[in-house]
Symmetry: C2
Subunit: 354 residues, 2 copies
């Protein structure tokens, strides 16, 4: 399969332009773009998961602010009111997405620094610039993660990944998958095994799709098969993304990650986590303090087009788990690789600036 | 939920009677019995997985032979021809099911010992007796497994199981689940966690259903959640069935079992396997010699009512895995408990007769 480039999201035109998203709800069966010409369109795209993944949500929301102000630039008073309501509105699209608030705060701060001595049009132009900067920084961050991690993957290696920490969750190369794409760019042939990632099947639906689009040998397995594939000696490295990393290096990520890390340990396979520095929350001492979101049981019992368990059955559906730092061979960030994982090394690497 | 008894399969009447099966293809949404009044009905029920699980298939096939001879008892020559063709026909219903051949061989031997000095009717009656004996022995075997294993489960304990090794796979109490049912009969309250068991969801569809029917507190999880549930301290024991056990105690069982065993080890949780002595294959030295059946990729990509992965994706779908004996705290059989697991102890326990 040849590599046909695609973009998870792109801005078309200037301040009066619009946002184009790949509609991820239709993957892997249809590749269809969604044109967002209003803040309502962006709000709906985030809410419906047409765009997903923390970095991608942040970028989409930033462009959403620009869209929300297109009709309000002729009057500074009206502009400020529209800015406030647009920011508040977009914040309701996915209230658990940290990057959403981070991006909205960044645009709010940029505007706040200009109010008083700039016109609405000038601030509007500056906000587009800021959204584009967020977008470009994400692209550069993914590339840097890939560059920093590619040394761990060797030509001919089998690599296991879980969930989707790739292009589709970011602007371009992703985090865990950036390491794979960069290794491939360096001429290494990899065999990538993808956990389907129950209950929501991000691995089956999204990761396989984008790996195949990048021309990488891709094999889908059920989550329950990872141990067997490791036992057969097919896996040289495991690499996943992260949702949140504590100061000691404990990693919260999609449910199933912790089990894969334990299985990697049992088979002597290094387990890597790739994530931007913004994923670290140094106010949290250890993973024990990270709350585990519980999601509706129907995701398991009714998640796949038909009911697969009896009415009334008890269900436990944690969205995340925590992998202790001691199981992680290295944390791969855009600022460098942290290995072995320790709080000192994390603070040193993150504090080094970029 | 109160315990409403049900029977996986039962014979109604005498030699001219018929077989009634719970149609497992309709579970967990419908509880409907299937009346098998001809050998064709039984053949179709086995083929369609209306009846499944090695012991249950063997029992159904044995009754199927009785059905196949109902029209052929008046003429010994015709009877022998009908017996041969019925045995051959039923053997094609599920060619990988060891118990199917075992049961058919047993009926063939019983008939062979009578041919020459008995009428077709007499042999027919003897074959029903033999089928009923196979059925009764299975019931007693399940009860004995339950009695032998129940000591390992304590009141208030959380227990994890994988796939379906219960009533639905046997005539009554099952193997792994017999241990749970017997512990409950002894007045112990258990919290049973059930892996959904991708790709075919036997845990979600069947195990939850029968545990709930037995009045047991049941919680369904995805396979990828087992590690997290263990880490939370909710599991005191893991218990599964087995498809085949090598002379050294290595266990082939449903894909995912090996990973669960590794995770149990990592959390200091004992991992038990419950299986009848007929599951042991002492001609096989270790699990390395057990071939792993590969099944169609569509079970993963199209298994649940809709397509969940891209067209053309590579898929690896092993039906079984092998859990090494060193991860198994005890093998629970109808002849006694084997712990610690070793070839010597296996041979001693199995050789002790019953």
């Amino acid at each position: 399969m040849t590599h046909v480039p695609y973009e998870t999201l792109r801005w078309v035109g200037g301040v009066d332009g619009h946002l184009v998203l790949l509609d991820q709800t239709l993957l892997p069966l249809q590749e269809q773009e969604l044109e967002c010409t209003s803040v309502d369109d962006v709000w709906g795209a985030i809410r419906r998961l047409s765009v997903r993944g923390a970095p991608a949500i942040g970028i989409a929301a930033a462009y959403g602010v620009v869209l929300g102000l297109q009709q309000a630039t002729h009057d500074v008073g009206r502009f400020q009111q529209a800015l406030k309501s647009t920011l508040e509105y977009l914040a309701t699209s996915r209230p658990t997405a940290v990057n959403l608030f981070w991006a909205l705060d960044r645009l709010r701060d940029r505007a706040a620094a200009m109010v008083g001595n700039h016109s609405g049009s000038e601030i509007h132009a500056a906000l587009l610039e800021e959204a584009r900067a967020i977008h470009a920084e994400d692209r550069a961050m993914c590339r840097a993660i890939g560059q920093n991690g590619a040394e761990f993957l060797q030509d001919g290696m089998g690599v296991l990944t879980h969930c989707n920490a790739g292009s589709l969750a970011t602007s371009e190369y992703g985090t865990a998958l950036a390491v794979i794409y960069t290794a491939q760019d360096q001429g290494k042939q990899l065999d990538v095994f993808v956990d389907e990632t129950r209950p929501l099947l991000q691995g089956a639906r999204l990761t396989t799709w984008e790996l195949m689009r990048h021309g990488i040998a891709t094999t889908l397995i059920c989550d329950s098969m990872a141990a067997q594939v490791m036992r057969e000696g097919r896996i040289g490295a495991v690499i996943t993304g992260a949702d949140r990393i504590a100061a000691n290096g404990d990693v919260a990520n999609k449910i199933g990650t912790y089990g894969v890390a334990q299985l990697a340990r049992a088979h002597g396979i290094p387990f890597y986590v790739a994530a931007p520095s913004s994923t670290f929350d140094l106010r949290i001492a250890t993973g024990d303090a990270i709350p585990i979101e519980q999601r509706p049981g129907e995701e398991i019992t009714h998640g796949l087009g038909r009911q697969t368990a009896p009415d009334g059955v008890g269900v436990y559906n944690p969205a995340f788990d925590v992998t202790p730092a001691e199981l992680i061979a290295a944390l791969i960030t855009e600022r460098g690789v942290i290995t072995p994982v320790s709080e000192n090394r994390i603070r040193r690497t993150l504090g080094a600036g970029d």
